[in-house]
Amino acid sequence: MTQSINLLIGTRKGAFILKSNEDRRIWEMSGPHCETWPTNHVVGDPKTGTIYAAGGNEWFGPAVWKSTDGGKSWTHSSKGLAYAEGQDPVKAVWSLCVAPDAIYAGVEPAGLFKSTDGGESWVHLDGLRNHRSREHWMPGGAGLILHSLLVDPDDPQSIHVGISSAGVFHSADGGQTWEPRNKGTRADYMPEDQRYPEVGQCVHNLVRAAGGNGRLYQQNHCGMYRSDDAGKTWQSIEDGLPSSFGFPAAAHPRDPDTVFMVPLNGDTKGRYMPDAKAAVWRTRDGGKTWADLRDGLPQQDVYFNVLRQALSTDSLSPAGVYFGAASGAIYGSANEGDGWTLIAQNLPPVVSVETMVA
């Protein structure tokens, strides 16, 4: 059966969809969707083909958009997507996760909402809001955002989130209570004797490896890490990479040892491609060794960055890998990163890239 692949792209000015077939050679673009609202994350439910887009508009506040016809028409809702009266209002939605039992939304200021009616209405899961460490959470450069949201497909009660810059948290009870999962990750911006705190790490992106064995990877403001115990402990895997700084990570759809990252030149050096040459880096042994993947990527004067949620893989074989740059370019590889092509350019700054094979 022929499958279609959708790249779901969030940008500063609306959502875009790029569609292709299994060859992944010719892409057809639609957009901007969602009335050009700043769109932080776009995800699809491969079972139904429904597309959800999350964002927030300076005028109109936060909303989750929904399309059941491949992006031709959209509705939006923020019913229930609000904190209690008197608290700082929800500014924007930053992450979505389609889980077996519900759709989850992570927001700024950091918090988690759940919808059991397909995004028509939302309920606040207030465990993060009431966490004992909450008063110590400091906003990162983009605000106090919940940008990484992983609901275990085999156990929807098990949820991991990444919050800038509070760190990684895990809930075993569907979001009611949370425990920090930051052991072994650094906070280089703290005084020397406080660089491994319980919370306060600036996680940039958190992804789950295939296989369901508790393996996670994270790109942090301060290093790249792997966990083999669902985040209870983390090991640095930054040796062999050109810097310890970057934003996104993407796991291989089937091989738990393969993950992709996009190191930038450094926290304080401009945050663009190292040596102004574009590369995605891949490990096939869980982070012991890394290879730089450059074939087809620009190798001169490249000053773009790739943000937290803007690197993704698809579920085809060989796996496709895609990233979107703040310059508005989308690059894709149909062979696990060995060769790349430019598949769109001149979009608004890209915030996120996800895939849906349906």
């Binding site: 009335e35 300076e58 005028w59 109109f60 506040g61 939006h76 923020s78 019913k79 209002p89 929800v90």
Partner: protein, 95 residues
Amino acid sequence: MDASAARPVVTVKIAAVLADLFPGAPREFIVQAQCVGEMIDALDQQFPGMGDRIRDSRPAIRKHMNVFVDGERATLDTPLSHHDEVFVITAISGG
């Protein structure tokens, strides 16, 4: 006596960019409301979700939205009188 009968009848004109978010929504409404907050409730009843676009959960009129009643910038508590003209418009924002 019907309680709504005592409420002032006002004309509400909304920004095109707001109306566009709700397929079928007009740019102009006639509603009965005693204050701006009630007026927003009335719009929300006709087009569910429109209230959230104008008012946040503090609750207050959103930071980058403006509601003017007969030429004066209003808050949720601003009272309305018969035949008032209310404008719901977007403030300067963005890049």
